[in-house]
Amino acid sequence: MSTTATMEKPPTTDNPVFSVDGLWKVFGPKADLVPEDAELAALDPADLRERTGCTAAVRDVSFDVRKGEVFVVMGLSGSGKSTLVRCLTRLIEPTAGTICIDGEDVRAMDKSRLRELRRHRAAMVFQHFGLLPHRTVLDNVAYGLEVQGVGKAERRARAAEVVVKVGLEGMEQRKPSQLSGGQQQRVGLARALAVDPQVLLFDEPFSALDPLIRRDMQEEVVRLHREEGRTMVFITHDLSEALKLGDRIALMRDGKVVQLGTPEEIVGSPADGYVREFVRDVPREQVMTVRRAMQPGGCAGPTHPGALAPDAVVADAIKVVAERGGPACVVERGRCLGVVDHERLLGVVAGTQLRDGSPAPRSSEGASGASGTELRKEAV
């Protein structure tokens, strides 16, 4: 699944859509003093609460969301990820820092400019859907357009198209209470899509759904992204969802971003023990690419046996290597970048090998033991 998703994703460019720098959100009395005070800013959450009565939900967060990418913010509950995404369109007013959308300062916007941003440039999908219970599916989807002042006939026509796009054909006249959870979230998604926003913001959109429906919806998002190439910011607490959807992932803990990188970077080189613990159970062969696993340096021959693309995941390489019974080449534009053999592939699966070929640093909590179990599990 993730293979196809990552391979067929539209190209991302380097223009940031959202550019966030030094963002703080502090709840509590005299919240604006906390980010300014270096001493307070450095306190951990419990101490901060004790000293000032304030809670810092987002602490000094910086990142860029590039055009066309799916940017995932991941963290456990209470890590500040939902607050962060609400700060982007100022549904929650940030305490300090800057947010730019296409180079325009969001925090400096006046009311009407901010409404314009919310109406046309960034639309949000919510965990609990937030549908209007007294309106039909069609009118819920058309609501964003209605708010913009689009005429009734036109907004209904446009909403009807989007309803089809999210697979709710034939349910236009139902009320939200007559739909299942998954269908309701499709309405939420359609409502956001109907205004044709530059960026889609997702706040844990699938957490309230059953696992099977969740998978359907994830695939729906992948499909939409593939078809439209829209920039997305996706909040989730589910690591597999993050790995499946994200071009890049920001992992948050206690309001801070502890690591920001591609799924491969997060799984392959965790920044600290917290991240390592987090990604411990991830099946690495589904995430890591052969670019990382290979022994750099070209092969001797001109035939490039195996001929794997550098973006192919290790699981695919294992298949090729096993079928060939020997090492395979990693080839990009007809040039051989390196070679993978079963030893290097196993090293990735076991988590003992990093990019430069040196063994992974062992943490004191016995990461090797954990990896050992995992290896066995994977081998079975």
Binding site: L91, R115, A123, G130, H134, E146, V147, S177
Partner: protein, 648 residues
Amino acid sequence: MATVTASTPRSLPTHLLRHRAVHKILLIALAAAVLVPLANAQWASGSWPAALTVDLTKPLGSASDWIIDNRDSHPLFLYFFGYLSNAVVISVHAVYVVLLGAGWAGVTALGALVAWRVAGLRLALGTAAAFLACGLLGMWVPTMQTLALMVVAVLASVLVGALLGLAAGLSPRMDKILRPVLDTMQVMPAYAYLLPVVLVFGMGVPAAVLATVVYAAPPMARLTALGLQGADKGVLEAVESLGTTARQRLLTARIPLARKELMLGLNQTIMMALSMAVIASVIGAGGLGDRVYQALASVDVGAALAAGIPIVLLAVVLDRVTGAAGAVDDSAEDAGRAAWAYALAGAVVVAVAGRLLGRLDWPDAWTLNIAEPVNRAVDWMTAHLYSGVPVIGGTADWAAHFTTWILDPVRDGLQALPWWSVLLVVATLSWLIGTWRTALTAVLAMAAIGVLGVWTPALDTLSQVLAAVAVTLVLGFATAVAAARSDRFDRMLRPVLDVFQTMPQFVYLIPVVALFGVGRAPAAAAAVVYALPAVVRITTQGLRQVDPAAMESSHSLGATSWQQLRQVQLPLARPALLLAVNQGVVLVLAVVVIGGLVGGGALGYDTVFGLAQGDLATGLVAGAAIVCLGLMLDRVTQPTERRTGKGA
């Protein structure tokens, strides 16, 4: 006082409560030890000391004289109250003319068709039958008078209430100011609202309408605010994320989301307006209430019943139809405007047809005179049931016994108590149940009664309230326990309670006068009947909502059903029981005061007397004392600490 402590702490947080209760008692005892000898030395008298009263009769009398003198000349009256009063008169009259112009057939058709659109066929038939019954009883014209007054009063109440509710629902600051005011208005007896408006507007329709608006607007305001505040935060956030303006949010999300509460508010406002429109006959509202009032004044039970039945029918129909309108589910399909258009067109056709046939007024030949047979039946009852029935005695005997054995001793006991000890009891009770703030309010309210110089009649009213509350609670709790334990009994009881809860306070006086004659006992009986349904309902609900897991576990331990009731249900349902007591007290007071009309005496009588004699000073003082009494009784029985609301 020691007995009070011993009996109160009997529930889960016993330790804590006992701890706190003991503290409170000690503090009060300390304060009493200092203050009582002082007070006693200064003003030693059993009743409220004359030195501490302020005679308001003169200033109030001169104020009312001034108002009467200046009603036609002072700019305030000319340019404000005058216009207000004219507007009310004109609009009531306009509605009345329209109703009469539509004829009985048109009004019946309109009512039935609206009920059909809103609530279905069954209620449409019920509505038609109710209107026809009003005509049949020869009460068509008074019914239309009451209806006209109601229409205007309800529209004004809804407008005022919705605006206040909007303000409170959107601004937390406004909510903080309005909430205690509305809470307090809610517990005031309807009667207390009559006098101030009479003072300004004089007797008549404007005063009646305005009193009704003041009485009926608070539920609308409360429920509107509640609905707006209770809107799903997730939906509001989603709506905001789409870039809505504040106005768009209000119109497309907040108000539609509050629809259920708004419809409930409308329902309650209509019911309260009906209740008040009937009581306001005392200040010249005319219509059905006036017929009941006149009939009761001459103890003509038959005539009172003929006017009372239409009131009950109106109440039931209005309640069911508006209730059904509120219960319509969001998921239901909107049937569209065409059906409404058909309904209205149908009503117009019937009205025009009635007009063309010259059948506008209800034909005299179709009326059914029930007054005479009813009066014959009452006479028979007087002759055979009032007294001398072997073994069980008669109703009049019961009333007499109730008066001599319960009402008199309680009243005499209360009046014999030194005034400071009454205040002390009030302070202790209210502090034990609530906070020091509720206690302070209660004591101040009670003291205000003394200061107003109506200590003795107030204690008389209080004795009636206490006796009626005791009876209500005994009957109510017993019924509720039975209903909570037997589904069948509950199912049987439910429709009865529904009907009883919708009836205006006034009509309860009719049957008790028929049964018990006039006096204090029938007033108390009417109060019991009026308060009983609410007490039963709240208690049953409380008992039924007890955590099933707790019930199951006690069952699995082999508890008998009596043990279960005593050890699990009653303790866990304590908040509901307290609420039932509070409601019981408030409702009983409302009717005991009205009982002044049928010989209840005391404050209620003073109020009526003041109104009837144009002696507004007496009436106003009595009215103010009723307000204070209501405030005190509510605070004494209000477990504020356990409620989310603020203190006094």
